[in-house]
């Protein structure tokens, strides 16, 4: 369960940052994108998948969360 930071990029997409691994990667897809429910399974540009506990309503970004690697 690494702690990850989700942020909005300049281009408007979402990025995921794993401090421990220095990994900063674009999120290409997310199960629940809001409005309303936010989170769930997400896929990064390099193919890795993480799971975030879905949140309702969507949080203010950036936010640090515990994510599960799938």
């Amino acid at each position: 369960m690494p702690s990850v930071m989700i942020n909005k990029t300049e281009a408007g997409g979402l990025s995921l940052y794993v401090p421990k691994k220095d990994l900063e990667e674009m999120i290409v897809s997310m199960e629940h994108e809001g409005p309303g429910l936010w989170g769930g399974e997400l896929t990064l540009a390099d193919g890795t998948r993480y799971y975030l506990e879905p949140m309702d309503p969507e949080p203010r970004l950036p936010i640090t969360l515990r994510a599960k690697r799938l």
């Binding site: 930071m5 942020n7 940052y17 401090p19 220095d22 990994l23 900063e24 390099d46 203010r60 950036p62 936010i63 640090t64």
Partner: protein
């Protein structure tokens, strides 16, 4: 004049790797690469932030160096105790030339060395009592200090002293911040972890101090200048540009900075980040907790400065944008004169860099402004994200070397024969004796500042002074020269 061809560079890497035993060769091969601007992600071509192979001459520092030397050391009105044996503090004292104003020993303490000077009995019985006594002595002798940081050296972690409890107790007694740092040198693979530990300590022990205090009168133009350590006056040369364009710099982190500036940073509107490696953790934290956006900028060389000033201005209103244009216009003729003067003397020369932090990528623009070309670049302690940023700035076929060993760097330089090498003091005399001009790029070879427009003038002069120094023709003894000439004839 162009950099080596891709195949040539790759062959060179293979050749250099040949001397290693197989296991070390496999390991080192991952750290050497040839740049390709089309690479999207650095991790596909280079591995970084790994433990050095034992036995090779690495040039890295330790976590204590990253915390005390880089991040905390420049905070001038605090006393930074090197907690442990005397050497770590003494040999790193004042070496980084973080300039500051004030009266040393009265209200600022930047170049002084405070240490608990561990002896055998402190190792056996623990050093907490000594630390308490030391803090009391500091309070008596230097009552104007604004806080204390305790920078752990290796033994503190090994014997398991509880510096946190001493800190809490003394902070209450003195009513000043006392910050414990677990930056023992053996932690992590390089000084990079020290930066992280120092950032986390600021986050936990300093930033929340004024969370409920709204007495600070902020303006919409407040910015914090972070990741600039004022080496040779760098932060000052950067600050005046920001102020000229109409911004108000409320905090300098941490060159010529104070503890109250650290506490004030959450009141700023934007964090301007120069050294990404050593302060990104805090920038990210402040963005999350206080909603302050952060932006990386580059103040080396007029092209990059103009680019950065415009980028900074774009975060503010028209008044600032106008200000940025005014500043750029004001310095353009001055900069053109400098480029006109030095470019003919430096045009086409090749540079190899091996430094840390931000320099291998940030100075590329400044060299290009002078018509020079960076043919090799490497970091001591960078992570993946640094190389992601670097690759964009480098040309095709540039050598990339991560945590390069003494042997590799020497071989690369021997073969590439650059006109200038920029690295640290440990490399300086090797290359000078090889007859290659050298600049010590960690603290600007006792010169500086190099940031900002004022800094570029000095940068250009220094490069010219080093490269075109007549001494490089005098390396061969005159009688040997005559021999060579006769043979040639």
């Amino acid at each position: 004049m162009c950099a080596m061809k891709r195949e040539e560079a790759e062959a060179l890497i293979q050749e250099v790797l040949e001397v290693y035993p197989e296991k070390a060769r496999k390991d080192r091969a991952k750290h050497l690469a040839v740049s390709d601007p089309n690479t999207e992600q650095a991790k596909k071509c280079i591995v970084s932030n790994r433990k050095s192979v034992p036995g090779v001459m690495t040039i890295r520092g330790c976590a204590y160096a990253g915390s005390k030397g880089v991040v905390w050391g420049p905070i001038k009105d605090m006393v930074h105790i090197s907690h442990g044996p005397v050497g770590c503090g003494q040999y790193s004292r004042a070496g980084r030339r973080n300039y500051y104003t004030g009266h040393t020993g009265v209200n600022v303490f930047g170049t002084m060395n405070f240490t608990s000077d561990f002896q055998e009995k402190d190792i056996v019985f623990g050093g907490d009592k000594k630390l308490e006594k030391l803090i009391d002595e500091i309070q008596t002798l230097f009552p104007l200090h604004k806080g204390i940081s305790i920078q752990s050296e290796c033994p503190v972690g090994l014997i398991g002293d509880d510096i946190e409890s001493v800190s809490k107790k003394k902070a209450k007694e003195l009513e000043k911040p006392v910050v414990p740092l677990r930056c023992e040198g053996f932690r992590g693979v390089s000084q990079s972890l020290g930066h992280h530990i120092a950032n986390d300590a600021i986050r936990d022990w300093v930033l929340p101090n004024r969370d409920d205090d709204n007495s600070f009168e902020s303006t919409p133009y407040d910015v914090a200048l972070t990741g600039d350590y004022n080496i040779g006056g760098d932060a000052w040369a950067s600050r005046i540009l920001l102020e000229e364009m109409g911004l108000r710099v409320v905090a300098q982190w941490s060159g010529d900075g104070t503890i109250s500036e650290l506490e004030l940073a959450p009141k700023a509107k934007v964090n301007l980040l120069h050294c990404y490696r050593s302060m990104n953790y805090l920038a990210r934290h402040m963005e999350e907790k206080y909603g302050i956006p952060w932006m990386e900028y580059n103040f080396f060389g007029p092209t990059k400065i103009a680019e950065s000033l415009r980028k900074i201005a774009s975060l503010f209103d028209e008044k600032i944008q106008e200000g940025a244009e005014r500043v750029i216009a004001k310095y353009t003729s001055e900069m053109n004169a400098i480029i006109e003067k030095y470019r003919p003397r430096l045009e086409g020369r090749k540079v190899m860099l091996y430094v840390g932090g931000l320099r291998p990528r940030h100075v590329v623009g400044a060299y290009e402004d002078l018509g020079m070309e960076v043919v090799g670049a490497g970091y001591e302690f960078a992570h993946n994200d640094d190389y992601d940023r670097t690759i964009k700035d480098l040309g095709e076929g540039t050598l990339l070397y991560d945590d390069v060993t003494g042997y590799e760097l020497e071989e690369f330089v021997k073969r590439v024969r650059p006109d200038l090498v920029g690295s640290g003091i440990k490399e300086k005399y090797i290359f000078q004796k090889m007859g290659i001009p050298f600049r010590q790029m960690h603290s600007w070879d006792y010169s500086g500042p190099y940031h900002g427009y004022d800094g570029f003038a000095i940068f250009a002069r220094d490069m010219d002074m080093t490269l075109n120094n007549p001494c490089w023709d005098k390396l061969q003894a005159p009688w040997k020269k005559a021999d060579a000439a006769a043979k040639a004839a």
